[in-house]
Each structure stands twice: as structure tokens, then as C-alpha cells.
């Protein structure tokens, strides 16, 4: 497990993706700072006009911006690479020669992908918070309900939001893991995973498919705002966790079925 994480975070590609994610809050904060007049209420992405009051909101704005594409993109790359990457490098059969077993390999690969989800989300939130604090300073944060909380509690809320978004991405990681067992071409698995995440969001926009919406893994992706209400509304956190757990179970089982019956030739 430790070696798997070392491999994942030893790759220049992983760091490049995290850097790209870190660039989003930095760009937002610098743009707001340099613009001559502060953004008015309701302008630009949500939370943007609150950035100047409290730097922590840079992280929130960056999350809203990156949830539709950037986060699924990086998670798709990591999750799609899990099995197919080893297969394409020809290292998969060596891993399977070791007595670790296929199930364990699958679990280790998935946990590594999940750790990357957390790292990616934390990157956006923490870098956003740091940049925001540096450029705008800390102030009392206004929650969605209009109540004001101090810096300490707003930091706790920001971390909770990071956890929420990480959980949101676990389902997509499981889908990526399954797709990765289907092919030996990692790029194909990555692309398929990213495309699936976009398709899920497009389907979520179509009112005609309302019956399908509760089953889409992207259903609660923007629900993290419920953690910024006063008092905290845990309903969407619970719904989201249940939904993602369902995806992990289904696609984990599919990946298991596929991977343990697969002839590993490379």
C-alpha cells in the first residue's frame, strides 16, 4: 500500500495535475485582487463576491469552478490508470505473480485513487484558503443563512466541504477502476471515465430524465453548500455518502468479476 502511494505521488504527472488544480484558486484570487472594482452580488461564479470579505471563500469558489470538469478529469486520469496502466507497462503479471492476490491489488489500487481524490480536493481548498488569506485576510465568514461565524469555525466548515467533495468523487473513482480492468490502453480508460462524468452531468441537466436523476453519481456534487448553512444540513451529506457507497459497491463488484476472471497476458 505504501509503495503504491509512493509510486502514485512519485509521478510527475500526479504533481502536474495537483499543480493545475492549485492554479485555479490562485488565478481566481489574483484576478479578483487585480480587478479595479470588487464583483457585485450575483456576478460570476457563486461565492465570488464574498471573496473580498473572507479569503477562505476563494477555496469555495474554486471548488464550484472545478467540480464540473477539472476534478473529474484528474480523478479520471488516476482511476483509469489503475489497472490498465500496469497492463500497458507489462508490469501487471509481475504484480500478480507475487502472492498478494488480485483482490488485494484491486483494493490497494482503489484506495490509492481515493487518497488522490482527497489530495486533489484538499489542494483546491487549502491553496484557495492560503491564497485568499494572503490577499484578502481573514474576516468573519457569512454563511448561506446570513449568520456570521468566526475564522475558526469557517476553517472547520471548509475542511468538511473538502471531505464532502472527496466522498462525491469516490463513485467516479470506482467507475474508473472498473473501466480500467476492461482495457490495456490506459488513455482509453481515462477518457472513458472522464466522458462518463460529463455524460452524467449532462443527463442531470435534462428535465425529461428526472426519474434517472437520483441515480446519477453527479447528483449531489454541488450539495456541499448544505454544509455552509446554519445549522449544518447533513441530509445531502448522508444522501451523497449512500449514493457513492452504492456506486463503489456496484462497480467494485463489477471490477472484481472482470479482474479475477481476466486472462492477464501482459
Amino acid at each position: 500500500m505504501r509503495s503504491e502511494l509512493r509510486v502514485l505521488f512519485g509521478r510527475p504527472r500526479t504533481w502536474a495535475m495537483l499543480l493545475a488544480l492549485a492554479a485555479i484558486p490562485i488565478l481566481i484570487a489574483v484576478a479578483v485582487r487585480l480587478s479595479s472594482e470588487p464583483p457585485g452580488p450575483g456576478e460570476g461564479p457563486p461565492f465570488l463576491d464574498r471573496v473580498t470579505q473572507n479569503g477562505l471563500f476563494v477555496g469555495m469558489t474554486a471548488l464550484v469552478v472545478s467540480i464540473p470538469l477539472f476534478l473529474p478529469l484528474t480523478v479520471g486520469v488516476v482511476a483509469g490508470d489503475t489497472i490498465a496502466g500496469e497492463a500497458s507497462l507489462g508490469t501487471l503479471r509481475y504484480l500478480l505473480v507475487a502472492p498478494a492476490g488480485r483482490v488485494r491489488l484491486l483494493v490497494v489500487k482503489y484506495v490509492a485513487a481515493a487518497v488522490f481524490c482527497l489530495a486533489a480536493t484538499l489542494t483546491v481548498v487549502v491553496v484557495g484558503a492560503l491564497v485568499g488569506l494572503a490577499l484578502f485576510g481573514a474576516g468573519p465568514a457569512t454563511l448561506l443563512s446570513g449568520d456570521t461565524v468566526g475564522v475558526g469555525e469557517s476553517a472547520v466548515r471548509a475542511l468538511l466541504v473538502a471531505v464532502y467533495v472527496t466522498v462525491s468523487l469516490l463513485g467516479l473513482s470506482a467507475v474508473g477502476l472498473f473501466v480500467s480492468t476492461l482495457t490495456e490502453v490506459p488513455v482509453g480508460a481515462m477518457a472513458a471515465t472522464v466522458v462518463l462524468s460529463v455524460v452524467a452531468q449532462v443527463l442531470g441537466q435534462l428535465d425529461q430524465l428526472a426519474w434517472l436523476h437520483p441515480w446519477l453519481f453527479s447528483r449531489h456534487w454541488l450539495g456541499f453548500a448544505d454544509l455552509l448553512r446554519q445549522p449544518v444540513s447533513w441530509d445531502s451529506f448522508g444522501d451523497n455518502a449512500l449514493l457513492q457507497a452504492g456506486y463503489v459497491a456496484v462497480f467494485g463488484a463489477l471490477a472484481y468479476g472482470r479482474f479475477v476472471t481476466k486472462d492477464v497476458l501482459s
Binding site: P41, T142, L144, G146, T148, A253, Y256, R258
Partner: protein
């Protein structure tokens, strides 16, 4: 080495388990085992309810059959914001939290994606807050009339005032001319057992099939209200608690201080007995523009004379999109309400089919 079919077993079993679980949780929401009661008893229960302190989550769904407007269709138009706000209420789903403690402490939070609107009332002070616009509005309610306190629930029942049970009996008798009242099967709403009170119109001329109120078996608090249209499986509109806690919520919820940076506005409350203040548009309504009411009960049709209908209404792009041209004007048809804008500028509204509105408009 096990056979491949065994290896695939989890991939079949897991979705099956999830599907079963989903089916059970949606079907299990019904059926509560309650002692049978007559409609009058349930009405009495409803009338006797004096729950004043609770915290709950409400969910509102609408299936009115309104045409879906493309996003941004209203952007930039003058009537945009107000009209979209109304349309939003009439379409789709919405979640709100309600906190109440006594008659004068109330907080309502309407959840939207990434934003929220709040109403906070504490005593005579009311705050409205809109997070997205970052606007806080304060208004002071006029003092309650002196006799008001006595009429509050729980303030005692002086002699001569009917008991809730009597009231319920009278109510049943009253509604019985136009409405059939029945008690449906027990249901579970927000985890509480409740009686379904079913009000069905006797008139065949209305679009409304029935109104169903779930009355909490223990406290008599209405837990959900659903309006069913004729021939439509899903309720046309439903408001229901998904979560309910009885007892006083945290008092801090009822105090509101506008957040720093918010735009604060004071609004003068309308004084009773005075003309509406100039500039609100209300004072420009001519006194003769009173609506005429045709019929009674469920198939009532309300007709606004041309003078009360802004002439530019029929030409507004939003109205043009929502309505369709019919014999005698333009009509908006939903599952439970029909609106007819006649060519001579009148507006007719009713929970009736379009033909009846046309008949009334033509004076038949």
C-alpha cells in the same frame, strides 16, 4: 480454481441488493398501523393541534404540467426576476427548513443550489435575507390587535366558544355539500404515523381530483398536503415534512444580524386602514376593478375585469411562451389551474377545464 460464473456473482448480487433496498424504502413509506377513526375525529384532531415549537425540513414538489422554459429564456426581460421566482415555485422540487417556537418566533430557510433565502421573525421584527444578492430587508410588524392574544391556541377556551371537536363536526357538515371527506389508509410521513384525510370535490367540473392532508396521529399537526389532479398519478403539488423534531429549537436561530457587507433596507409595513402607499402600484388600481366570481365550491371561476389586468400582460414574451392561442383568447393550462386571457383584456382563473372558462367568458 472456481468457475468464472462464481466470480461474477458479486457483480449480480450487489445491484440486486441495492434495487431491493430502494424498492423497500420507497414502498415502506406507506402503511402505518393506526386505530381507525372517522373523518370527524381526524378533523377534530387537526383542529385541536397546538404544536407551536418544532424544527422540520419541508420538501415541495410540483407536477403541474407547465411547459419547461429553457434556461435563460427570461434573462434580461423586465418581468424576469419576479416571474422566474414565481415559476420556480410552480415547477420542480424545493427544500426548506422551518423552525418555529411559539406564535412569534419563526425562521424559514429556502434552499437553492449554492444559495439560500431566509425569513427570520422574532416578535415584531422580521428580517428577509437573500444570500445570492446579499440583501437584508427589515420590517417591523404592526402591533397585534388587543383581542389577538385571546384567540391564540392554548390561551384557554371561554364559554360559548366551540370545542375543536364541535368545530370539526361543523366543518364536516359545511364541506359535505361540495366535498366528500374520507380517511384513507394510515401513512408514515417524516417517520411519524399519520392519518390521510382525503377531500374530494363532488363537482365533476373541476380539474382537482382530491386534496390529501396527512394529519399526525399524535399531535394533529398536518405533516403533508398534496393536491391531486384528475387522472394524474403523481400529485400536482405536494408539500411534506421529510424531517420533524418537536420541541423548541435553538433560540439563537431567531436572532438575525445582517452580515457585514450586506445591503440593508428598511421597509415600512402597510398600516391597516390606510390607502396603499404611492409608488407600489397598488394605489393605481381603480376601485371599480373588482373581480366577479361565478359558481361556488371547487368549480369557482374568478374573472378579473379588463381594467384590473395590465394591458401589456398579454403581449409580454413570457406570457406568450407560456400560453397558447385558443378560441377567445390565450390560455395557460396546468394540471390543476387554468387561466384564460380573453381578447377584450379580461383574465379568468379557475381550477376548471378550459371549456368552462370559455363558457363563463362568453356569458353562458
Amino acid at each position: 480454481m472456481k468457475r468464472p460464473s462464481v466470480r461474477w456473482a458479486p457483480a449480480v448480487v450487489v445491484p440486486a441488493v441495492i434495487a431491493t433496498g430502494a424498492l423497500i424504502s420507497s414502498a415502506g413509506a406507506g402503511a402505518a398501523d393506526l386505530e381507525p377513526r372517522t373523518p370527524a375525529q381526524v378533523l377534530a384532531l387537526l383542529a385541536a393541534s397546538d404544536v407551536q415549537a418544532f424544527a422540520g425540513t419541508l420538501e415541495q414538489t410540483s407536477e403541474l404540467g407547465l411547459p419547461t422554459l429553457p434556461d435563460g429564456a427570461l434573462a434580461g426581460s423586465a418581468e424576469g426576476s419576479a416571474a422566474t421566482a414565481v415559476l420556480e415555485l410552480l415547477t420542480g422540487e424545493r427544500t426548506a427548513r422551518v423552525y418555529a417556537d411559539g406564535p412569534s418566533n419563526l425562521r424559514v430557510q429556502v434552499f437553492d443550489t449554492l444559495t439560500e433565502r431566509d425569513v427570520v421573525r422574532r416578535g415584531d421584527e422580521v428580517w428577509l435575507y437573500d444570500y445570492e444578492a446579499n440583501e437584508a430587508t427589515r420590517l417591523e410588524l404592526p402591533d397585534a390587535p388587543a383581542g389577538h392574544a385571546a384567540s391564540l391556541p392554548g390561551a384557554g377556551t371561554p364559554d360559548g366558544v366551540p370545542t375543536p371537536a364541535e368545530l370539526a363536526d361543523r366543518f364536516v357538515a359545511l364541506v359535505d355539500d361540495t366535498t366528500e371527506v374520507a380517511v384513507g389508509a394510515g401513512v408514515v410521513v417524516a417517520g411519524r404515523d399519520a392519518y390521510d384525510l382525503v377531500l374530494s370535490p363532488r363537482s365533476a367540473d373541476t380539474l382537482i381530483g382530491s386534496v390529501v392532508i396527512a394529519v399526525d396521529a399524535e399531535t394533529g399537526l398536518p405533516l403533508s398536503v398534496a393536491v391531486h389532479a384528475r387522472g394524474q398519478e403523481e400529485p400536482a403539488a405536494r408539500v411534506a415534512f421529510t424531517r420533524l423534531t418537536l420541541g423548541a429549537p435553538d433560540p439563537a436561530l431567531f436572532s438575525f444580524t445582517p452580515p457585514p457587507g450586506a445591503q440593508v433596507e428598511e421597509v415600512e409595513p402597510p398600516q391597516p386602514g390606510l390607502r396603499p402607499p404611492a409608488g407600489t402600484g397598488l394605489d393605481r388600481l381603480p376601485a371599480v376593478a373588482l373581480p366577479t366570481v361565478t359558481g361556488s365550491g371547487w368549480d369557482t371561476v374568478v374573472a378579473l375585469p379588463a381594467a384590473a389586468v395590465p394591458p401589456e400582460l398579454a403581449k409580454a414574451p413570457l406570457v406568450a411562451q407560456l400560453t397558447r392561442a385558443v378560441d377567445g383568447g390565450r390560455a395557460l393550462e396546468t394540471a390543476v389551474v387554468t387561466v384564460l386571457l380573453t381578447e377584450d383584456g379580461r383574465a379568468l382563473v379557475g381550477a376548471v377545464p378550459l371549456e368552462r372558462l370559455q363558457d363563463v367568458a362568453a356569458g353562458r
